[in-house]
């Protein structure tokens, strides 16, 4: 009996449970669909709930009720208390930024006023045309936001002040040539010092000089100095060429002289040795038969000499005819 009574109430209970279950499932499904739709449309309004996203290198400065709370540098999806209790500002701390002075790399033609920016006075009361690039990045996100009101104009003017102060201590030659690197390093140091004193959270990465040249009005004169140095080198090189030509020639002549002298010496000695040997041989023959040899030599000589000469044979004591002989043109006029 009791079973009969209980049966309908159990049914109702089951009915109710099933209904409840169906409702829950429906609610979950609706929530899922809603979330999917929200996600699909890119989570509109999520930032009001305190969600924010950081890319690598970015930092978020978080304020709680207006006052600085913390700096968050963890990349990914991040969360703070919902707005308005906490707010954030995102800073690109790793991005290297660039300011140009006296040049504009992004435009072909030079705009008015840029030229004057590159006009600087040097320590020797001269003028140099100098353009430079400054690179910086944010070293302190909090200071970069709340240190200085106008970051870029401040950096521009500070960089110019620094570079001009450094250039003002150098000569125009130094700036243009060998002390360029020094200008860069010194400007960098001075600019960092100035920027640090402003507490603006900026790190000066580099000050790099771009065009550094004399003003256009005197450029030809500067070029002529370079040409003069080259001319001087050319003259010196030519002289060295002359030297390289003259010295070997002199050495060659010297060798010729000494060699010919040696040749003379050796020839002379050889010749005299030959003659001495001939004489020795002759002497040996002569000593074997002195009278005959003597006669033979004498007659041979006469035989060789006399055929070619005019011969006058005069008796001894007939010296009186001598004046009648034409003894050569020089004596003709004499009595």
């Amino acid at each position: 009996m009791a079973h009969d009574e209980e049966d309908p109430s159990v049914d109702a209970k089951v009915n109710r449970s099933v209904k409840r279950l169906l409702t829950s499932v429906l609610v979950v499904l609706l929530l899922l669909a809603g979330s999917a739709g929200w996600a699909y449309t890119g989570f509109p309004g999520a930032e009001y709930l305190g969600f924010y996203q950081l890319k690598p290198g970015q930092s978020a400065v978080i304020l709680r009720l207006g006052a600085y709370s913390r700096t968050d540098s963890q990349s990914g999806l991040r969360w703070h208390l919902p707005i308005p209790f906490e707010t954030h500002d995102i800073v690109n701390a790793s991005e290297i930024m660039r300011l140009e002075f006296g040049i504009r790399s992004d435009t072909a033609e030079v705009p008015e006023g840029v030229l004057r920016e590159s006009n600087m006075q040097t320590g020797d009361n001269s003028i140099v045309d100098l353009g430079f690039v400054m690179q910086y990045r944010i070293s302190d996100p909090y200071e970069s936001l709340y240190g200085v009101a106008d970051v870029v104009p401040t950096l521009r003017d500070a960089a110019q002040a620094a570079v001009r102060e450094v250039v003002g201590k150098m000569t125009v030659d130094g700036v243009i040539t060998e002390r360029r690197g020094e200008v860069e390093l010194e400007s960098e140091r001075l600019l960092q010092e100035i920027v640090d004193s402003y507490e603006m959270g900026v790190e000066v990465m580099q000050v790099e000089l771009q065009q550094v040249q004399p003003p256009e009005e005197v450029r030809a004169a500067f070029d002529d100095v370079v040409a003069a140095a080259q001319d001087a080198n050319l003259a010196i090189n030519q002289a060295k060429g002359y030297e390289n030509e003259v010295i070997p020639r002199a050495r060659a002549e010297a060798i010729e002289l000494t060699e010919s002298a040696l040749a003379y010496r050796d020839a002379k000695i050889a010749e005299s040795q030959g003659e001495a040997e001939r004489f020795d041989a002759l002497l040996v023959a002569y000593r074997a038969a002195p009278a005959v040899t003597r006669k033979r030599l004498y007659l041979e000589t006469m035989e060789a000499v006399l055929p070619h000469v005019e011969k006058v044979i005069v008796e001894p004591g007939a010296a009186s005819i001598l004046p009648h002989l034409a003894l050569g043109k020089a004596s003709r006029g004499e009595p």
Binding site: G66, A235, A304, P316
Partner: protein, 297 residues
Amino acid sequence: MKRILIIVVALLLLLTALVAAGNRGLGPVVITEEGTQQIILRLGHVIRETKPGWSLRVPILDDVKTYERRLLYLNTEPDVIQTKDQERIVVDNYAMWKIDDITAFISSFPKGMQQAEKQMDRVVRAGVREIIARHTLAEVLTDQRSEIMAAIRQRVAESFADTGIAIHDVRINRTELPPAIEKNVHARMKTDRDRLARKYRAEGEEQARKIRAAADRDAQVIVAKAKGQSQVSRGEGDAESTRIYAAAYGKDPEFYAFVRSLEAYRKSIGEGTTVILSPDSEFFQFFVGSGGANERR
């Protein structure tokens, strides 16, 4: 249980609404953002200055004014300024300043920031003019630049004492010479360069001539030494040959004289020579008289 939850949620919503209103400068909550400073005035009288964070006020009755707390940048107009040595120079400055004492600032500059900036521009320019007039052009451009800037900074800071403004820095960011002076500088630079170019060329020639002269000298010395050496060699040859002759001919000087004479006859008596011979001569020994008459002479 449910009631508590509802109360908590309602309170949270109220708090959110109050803070959100405070961010917009409404309601009893005052939110002072980082980088700013605020002053709370009740019916025109200063009650309190705020620092970043939150505070409370009486709505409607209390007024809130917001000012910068950051360092402020001001670029003044470039000015033509006369130096001590009567040169003219264009100077461009900038100043870094901040509102130090908001109460004093409000009483000094009731019209606000623009008034302050206008006055600062004026004071900075006057200060620059005054300080630069005490220095020569060369000092401004080069060696005393930082001292001059420090003096200007001090001069400007003094003018703004007790005005709620703190002068952090005044700096010359740009100087420029007027066109006429610039022309003079160009002319001087040009003559400097011309002189240098002439010097380089002359020095080059000097060096070149030096090298040529040295080369000529070396060459002459080399040849002369060789000539000397060759004379020595020739002398050696002559001496040796003389020694050899003497050694050989010394063995029989008389025979040598005879042979050498014959040789000399061969060489010196040639065509065109007239020889007067005596029949008595050795050559005619057998020509006129009977042979052998003089043979044993």
